[in-house]
Symmetry: C2
Subunit: 181 residues, 2 copies
Amino acid sequence: MSLPHAVLTSLLEKSTSGYDLARRFDKSIGYFWHATHQQIYRELARMEGAGWIEGFVPPDAGKTRKKHYRVLPAGRAELVRWAAEPTPPMDLRDSFTVKLRADAILDEVDLCEELARHNALHAARLAQYRAIEARDFPATPPLTRAQAIQHMILKKGILYEEGEIAWGQEMLALLRRPAQT
Amino acid sequence: MSLPHAVLTSLLEKSTSGYDLARRFDKSIGYFWHATHQQIYRELARMEGAGWIEGFVPPDAGKTRKKHYRVLPAGRAELVRWAAEPTPPMDLRDSFTVKLRADAILDEVDLCEELARHNALHAARLAQYRAIEARDFPATPPLTRAQAIQHMILKKGILYEEGEIAWGQEMLALLRRPAQT
DNA sequence: GTGCCCATGTAAAGGGTTACATGATTAA
DNA sequence: TTAATCATGTAACCCTTTACATGGGCAC
């Protein structure tokens, strides 16, 4: 369970509203931890109750209902505590791979189109990541430690997508090969 | 939701008991879809109720309580139906990456040891996968389509672990670098 | 006969997904 | 003024996780 900690991290990077957090979870941080707006609102309410964060009306609020949250010392301490815990390695739940196993024994299944679609999705994401990299990490050496870490996280995403694409193309070639006995 | 379909696939590959399925989910198929024995027993009961599978006492049962399950035509049809559905791409939930983001802004966090531990785990898994590959896919060309697909699935795991290790080593070097300014 | 593994389950709690609800601003 | 988007929520359902329970076989 680390959704609250993902939210804390995101809020530490920049205080913001639940709505904007949800959008951030659809983009940058969401590539490593997905969450819907319902989850986020629920967690924000919980964490405010626990004294980890506090809500406030931003100075430029005007007439909107927008409410911002910022991390309190207790929240920061909790994040540090959690980060020191051992983490189990990510467990994968890839339903497409299950379908491939089904394909291997079933005949009636044809995953070519679906695989091609996935390959295109991965290519699109890769392009996004590369654009972010070009924008946020232009020169190489003069980086703070924080920037260097953030760059490595982005590179992890890039490597992952590159791997998916390379593998996906080989797999597609295999699936398209006519079934010779 | 595709745990039942992962179970169906596994049962099609080989009829077996809930207990052995659970162990299989701790190994081969579990690398792409994790499940505990509680989930598996529950799914087996549900699927038997739905007429997708049937339980039977294996001929060599003797005095054990062991019960085997095999896939019925309805289950096979359901698997085909499901495989034809579009799949969303896997969404990642990698708490270690969240911790890295926390590290980038927190100072009090030190992830070196944990990262080294993860790297060792990935190396161990890679070794396992390579051993399986050497055992199950020795020669190259004379493969059936099913074997070729299964080999590609294994290769996906190998590529993934190799990527994790390469990235993890670079990341470790970065984390170990003394914080200059 | 004690301890360990096999083998199957139940129960409770918590997290995630989907559907629904509401009101307020902004653009056509 | 109608539709879309902003912004925040509630409720129900399902899935997953964790803890507990049970009883049989087997080895020492």
